[in-house]
Amino acid sequence: MSIEAIINIALFVFLGLTAFAILKLRALFAVVMLSAVFSLVSAALLVHLDAVDVAFTEAAVGAGISTVLMLATLALTSRHEKAPTRSQALPLIVVFLTGFALVYGTLDMPRFGDPQAPIQVHVAPKYIADTQSEIGIPNIVTAVLASYRGFDTLGEVTVIFTAGIGVLLLLAAFIREPEGLRVQTMDHHLVLRVVTKVLIGPILLFALYVQFHADYGPGGGFQAGIIFASAFIIYALVFGLENARKAVPGRAVRLLVACGVLLYGGVGFVSFLFGKNYLNYSVLGADQVAGQHLGILLVEFGVGLTVAAVMVSTFYAFSGQNPPIGDEDW
């Protein structure tokens, strides 16, 4: 058996075990942690499949930001799951049927990695052949994401935008910020304080690198936005929400949420004005390649802006509530 297969099998076993543990555990803190592990293992699998851009996103979103948000939710609700009241037979049957259908579906699939698979011979060769001459950037994934299928990505940014304003709307509408918020900071922990101070700078720098280096290496607005946001969230966790809000006020963040989507959509409109199709960046520069470079840079920046702003403002909204669980209870 090749070493590749062994790694794959090991990772899938981990994945299965984690999923089973998540199902069985009632302690939600452990469940949240395990789902972070699940994402990390998935990310490792994706790296192994050479899908580094996707792995990067999975690690940043699944293992990073969503864990923080889940913990923030736990702090507002409860740390223990209630025992289910209804019979679980029907869901189990549905799950087995779905699993059976998925396995059945693999029977006629092209073999894994088959160079003659339809997916490899229809549209993909065009992307591989033309990216250099049409877009002129080494990372084909970024070219597909931001240019060839730029409309999908615009949709995805809008999904994040919609989800973000949805969460803000819900939290603002139904939970009033308590008077005299109990300020919870952790800056009395010396180690945390020092480590945070040391880390925040490099994290922000790394986010900018991921953002603007996406043409050459794995990364892009989605990943960068999340890394950027996590720096702010770490700061807010350790030095308190008030201090974080002083650095970046909530109003400003909420404004940026919309700015990112507007920037993306706006770039699309500019190509309208030049008489080209929506989101055709070729008109933005002196020649086609320069235009594509500028267009991708701008829309990726729009993505990063919206993602980071949505994450930060969601975190603000969550931790603005007074948590019933104190610092020491964790």
Partner: protein, 368 residues
Amino acid sequence: MVITGDAFNAFVFLEIASLSTYVLVAMGAKRDRRALTAAYTYLVMGTIGATFFVIGVGLLYMMTGTLNMADLAERVPAIGANRTLVVAFAFIVTGLGLKLALFPMHLWLPNAYAFAPSAVTVFLAATATKAAVYLLLRFLFTIFGTSFPTFEPTLTYLLLPLAVIAMFAASTVAIFQVDIKRMLAYSSIGQLGYMVLGMSFATVTGLTATIIHLFNHALMKGALFMALGAVVMRFGDATIDTMRGLGRVMPWTMAAFVAGGLSLIGMPLTVGFISKWLLVTAALESGLWPIAVLVVASSLLAVIYIWRVVEAAYFEPPPEGVTAGEAPPALLIPTWILIGANIYFGIDASLTTRVAGEAARALLKTAS
């Protein structure tokens, strides 16, 4: 979503629409906290539906290497019988079935409709599930096509029976509802049954009936929920008790409700009649006269649940201390515009039938 020619685009836009809907339903929590649970159920079910749909699209991409609908429509039939494609078909139909609340995957719908704010319910009823019906039409007829191996069996042995059960089960449950918003929500599930039924004939008339009912149902349910919104605005809820004597208290609102109700039942001179007429014709054309009888019989159930409201509103005195008072014109005028549309397109259906007929022919042309 509706104008896209790309399967993955459709997924992304379906999700944008659904996410906004989940939040909008949750906004009903200002009136009743149960809206949060309703929205959460809707979120979970909707997300499962979306996941199934995207699994199907992913499998399609794996087998064809394209996401473009026109390209898919060429390449899928060329591959022929293939188990992966069959599974893709199953996932797409199931996922969209969840999104459009096809019986028995409708359980999220009544609570979502009942607890959402009235204005949101109007939009939900008039648009949300319709988009999924449309996508199902596009995927079934344009991409897979009538020659796809599982196409005929799915339509005849799955969609048709489920649609008929939806028509009867949902309408029967509607009769026993106390909350009228909930009653209309169940009625919507039944009406979606009519749409899926028309689709399952896979004939031009059947598809015309489906497409025209998409539009007509939006008109009638929009008007009905708006009239109910006026009642909720005045009394805080819309239970059958609240409706007592409303014919005298809010005459214009209730008149609109009755007109919308007649349209729902399928009275001649309303859009409901046009839909039912086409549906019955389609059933007879396909030689399925028992189905035609069932369509008419299920309309009788609509007569019962609408009559309950009419009886309470017109034949019972209003409770003590309730004074006559109409809803503000800002609410009444749009309601009556919709009622007007119900009647206009019920009398002169040439425009709607022509458009729906052309769409149906376009779908079947690519399918054959």
